[in-house]
Symmetry: C2
Subunit: 289 residues, 2 copies
Amino acid sequence: MNAEILAVGTELLMGQIANTNAQYISARLPDVGIGVFYHSVVGDNPVRLKECLKLAFSRSDIVIMTGGLGPTQDDLTKETVASAMNRKLVLDQDSLDKMQAFFKKLNRPMTDNNIKQAYLPENSIIIRNKNGTAPGCIIEEAGKIVVMLPGPPSEMRPMLDDTVIPYFYEKSEFKLVSRFLRIFGIGESAMEDMILDLINAQTNPTIAPYAKDGEVTLRVTARYPKNDSDDDIITPVVNEIKKRLGDTVYSTENRNMEEVAAQLLVNTNTTIAIAESCTGGLVSSRLTD
Amino acid sequence: MNAEILAVGTELLMGQIANTNAQYISARLPDVGIGVFYHSVVGDNPVRLKECLKLAFSRSDIVIMTGGLGPTQDDLTKETVASAMNRKLVLDQDSLDKMQAFFKKLNRPMTDNNIKQAYLPENSIIIRNKNGTAPGCIIEEAGKIVVMLPGPPSEMRPMLDDTVIPYFYEKSEFKLVSRFLRIFGIGESAMEDMILDLINAQTNPTIAPYAKDGEVTLRVTARYPKNDSDDDIITPVVNEIKKRLGDTVYSTENRNMEEVAAQLLVNTNTTIAIAESCTGGLVSSRLTD
């Protein structure tokens, strides 16, 4: 099964925020055997949103939408999806009750525009939101699955982790497992040159390099049947790469430079003193993280 | 003119990194009168990439691509675009010379797979890369413009700022200007309720709310002719919003809580002492930032 993540919000197209929701969701889906083929972002515009939905349905089994579930007029995700799927929006009394309790707890009046958040497409699986007012939902139709989640990460993430991932885990037949090797002191092209035969020979696991500021990461991804991960096919590949690249591999656990440095200090029982001026506590902060 | 940002890279679909390039580019384009209608992300897969390109051409005037220009085998952006546009890739000797000088300076051998980075679509405007090896390019064809930039932000950003933005500025007829009001102590729905008549009445400037952890931002965006920004149509709207929302507006300059707090300390000549334990210097770091 393959998925597309469709984020809705003009604030993303204006560059006010990065689409970290797409990153978070993408990192979780392989655990339940779902490959992500596309990310899309569209604004709070019902015509273009409908167009993007149609496209997503045509090329993906699963469409996970974030954003546009809020109380304000430009929040149009549910209305547009319901219209595209010919479903009515019906009041979910439980969502309305929870919303009223939420406002009472905050000691704020609940304005009428909030009520639209309690309307959900009929016959959908409702996803409760413990950290905000907008519930999410899952709709199954004609072999396709649409998931709608709110935009704020503090609301979206627990709903994904607690409800959506377990929902997909039930359905999945296999899972993807990745290991990340972090490499410093060698360029991407020189590195590829040293392991090109491995990259060319692999189908499962696959090996993919990518470069970022000053360092290179290698991703080794294996596909396992869901209930069988005893047969470790990743470690031999990781070991062979380590043999080829030597000391330039500073982590095989996707740990960053400061984590590895801090762990080395702890292991050797070494303490350090840091005098920071322009960095304003940043070195201490990064080591503490 | 409207634009689409198409990022290429399986690492984005695996959730290894967030698409911060799309955010950065989106924040810059309104300055030169270009609205961004879509972001897309596709993996290092030539079939799906070609499909996404075709779609982008069909719905956008400008396609800005990031990623997939590197030396490794999975870097396929240029090859796919050239094939989709029926253009040959031709060797750019200057790019090859600069690449060789770059490796010499680093005292690293240049492997053969780097040479493909010096091949660019014929008749394109070449964008030099001062911080890496892969040049970018701009292609104009049949009223459409395609821009290709490398994926690493440290390479992409200066190429965008120094070459791509000035290129579009030459072509543009108007520009968009935004002001951001930061609001704390009131929910998104209650806020909208207080200014709904303003939101409904506006066409230029437009007003759009969005919520994030613990606070709300209002974006006020005006469209001006390129050479005429004397007629300030934003400030009266900002002032009216401030009048309605009172002290909950803590910044009208898109400054965050810690910036405003630090500025208040400086203005009143107040010094503070911070004792940090679990925060590991983070309070100091945020105030210093």
